[in-house]
Assembly symmetry: C2
Homo-oligomer: 135 residues x 2
DNA sequence: TATTACGTTAACGTCAACGTCAATTATTCT
DNA sequence: AGAATAATTGACGTTGACGTTAACGTAATA
């Protein structure tokens, strides 16, 4: 583990990867496509708290079935950066689109949870039937 | 559109695909991997209401970022089929695993919605600032 | 009857998101 | 200093989920 002159909150690649259970390959890949941009101490990558946050957001996105491009879009929402009126408006539109997608997902999840409940009930039903027959 | 002697609720591949906005390739692929099994009239596939339901479930799964394998597992929950005690118990376990995943997703979505709300607020803030400066 | 329109199988192609070497270069530990 | 550990950059491989093209059969229609 490349020792880092830990100015409070800097992470080596292996630190970060262990924490989030991803491989270095993944972290480097995210850097390749511009989702992370750690600084360097010589050749070696040094991840900041901000990088850590971004990775957290990316992984949350993955759990939700978002593509990395979706996550990129969402992450960009956190840093309005140099934004003129036009950019801000399209950003707001993007936000609302994402919001709509999420509400669809919420519906889907609710329905699926209902289905699972029913399936479980049926299982228990079958189990008690079996125990009745074999007793 | 291959005419089907529509015994009430049978669908041609193009009917089904139009309804769900997928390509025939997709339907055939799902059949290849055993997610659908339409009957045949000669060579031609004939989809039943059950097939239609299964496809709906698959697509809902996709929206939630489930893999086709996850969806297969979930769909199997609807047909306990020839089930002994052991099978039923492992089914119940699978149900609970999926349930846990879904609750994780619910949390993720809630957080993301919160984030979006904040981002939107910031956008509006920036916009009113701009209009103040240019007035 | 000939032209569409729709259906089929088979096989290769593609794209995202990494996995898996290999060869090389720091860093850390003893 | 020397061994062990960790990091780096290529570059090719893999997997899931289809897209695409070819080559062909069948069925409705003008």
């Amino acid at each position: 583990m490349t020792k880092i002159v830990t100015h409070s909150s800097e992470y080596s690649i292996s630190d970060l990867c262990k924490e989030f259970e991803v491989t270095p390959r993944t972290a480097r890949y995210y850097e390749d496509i511009g989702l992370l941009s750690p600084s360097r101490r010589g050749q070696t990558r040094v991840y900041s708290a901000a990088d850590r946050t971004r990775l957290r957001l990316i992984l949350r996105g993955k759990r939700l079935g978002l593509s990395l491009e979706d996550s990129r879009q969402i992450i960009d929402m956190y840093e309005p950066g140099k934004s003129n009126t036009e950019q801000l408006n399209s950003l707001i539109e993007a936000i609302n689109q994402q919001r709509e997608k999420l509400h669809q997902k919420l519906d889907d999840i609710k329905n699926l949870l209902e289905d699972l409940k029913k399936a479980e009930t049926d299982c228990f039903q079958s189990l008690t039937n079996i125990s009745r027959n074999t007793s």
